[in-house]
């Protein structure tokens, strides 16, 4: 048996949009616009606000993602937790103005074993899965 890996892995996706940061920010933070590209939601750009993202339920998953807003810096940074299937990660969007528009960096971080449940038994198998997830996510970068 290996020791628990306490490091975290991130999934990072970057994309440049030919639009000013103000406009990208609206799409990232206005509930009706978010629904068009992300999921149905009851998001509000308020730190501490809890909300859910919903997609069609599928076998073994009700399609609900539980989130809480961690940081709101208009036109610069938006961060919220992303909890589903017992795994909580953090999604952070960072906007940077460029000559052509806006550079968006999406980072989903915190794929790691749950420290609290390490070795507590019931969740050990799932910890193994998350350990494996780290390898996959590392390979995606």
């Amino acid at each position: 048996m290996t020791q628990p890996d306490t490091s975290t892995r991130s999934l990072i996706i970057e994309k440049e949009f030919p639009h000013p940061p103000e406009k990208v920010w609206r799409a990232l933070t206005e509930s009706s616009l978010m629904e068009q590209w992300l999921m149905k939601n009851d998001f509000q750009p308020v730190t501490g606000h809890s909300f859910t993202l919903r997609r069609e339920p599928m076998p073994n998953w009700n399609g609900v993602i539980d989130c809480q807003v961690l940081a709101v810096e208009p036109c610069r940074t938006l961060s919220y937790t992303w909890g589903t299937l017992g795994v909580e990660t953090v999604v952070t969007f960072t906007l940077t103005p460029t000559d052509a528009g806006t550079h968006v960096r999406m980072e989903q971080s915190g794929f790691r074993p749950d420290q609290e449940t390490n070795y507590k038994g019931a969740k050990y198998g799932w910890q193994k899965i998350i350990d494996g997830l780290e390898r996959v996510v590392a390979g995606l970068e």
Binding site: M1, F17, K23, L33, G121, L133, G139
Partner: protein
């Protein structure tokens, strides 16, 4: 015939099977009898669950005398890990959609 991934997801969908798999992962190789003593279900049920786990390649077994010993194979979780890895594709897809939304917004 079911694919390995189907067998894997199906095997892990049952809490008793997950508990057996987790116990083997945690405590190493064990006999069917030892697993039965702690599982709260009958030996035939444990054997049935072990067969499902074996189909998913989550466990391997060996005979030793009159006892069958089972061992976990956590590496068999790979298809599940790949599935979760689709998150990368998920975000690519969503950001492409975001680009479309931005195009449609007040010009």
């Amino acid at each position: 015939m079911r694919s390995t991934a189907d067998n894997l997801f199906k095997a892990l969908s049952d809490p008793t099977r997950r508990a057996i798999f987790e116990r083997l992962t945690r405590n190493g190789e064990q006999t069917v009898r030892a697993l039965t003593e702690r599982s709260g279900v009958s030996q035939p049920m444990v054997s049935k669950h072990l067969s499902a786990l074996k189909r998913a390649r989550l466990v391997r077994n060996r005979r030793h005398g009159r006892e069958t010993h089972y061992q976990a194979r956590p590496e068999a979780l790979a298809p599940l890990v790949d599935w979760i890895g689709n998150y990368g594709a998920f975000w690519q897809d969503r950001l492409d959609r975001l680009a479309e939304v931005l195009e449609r917004m007040d010009k």
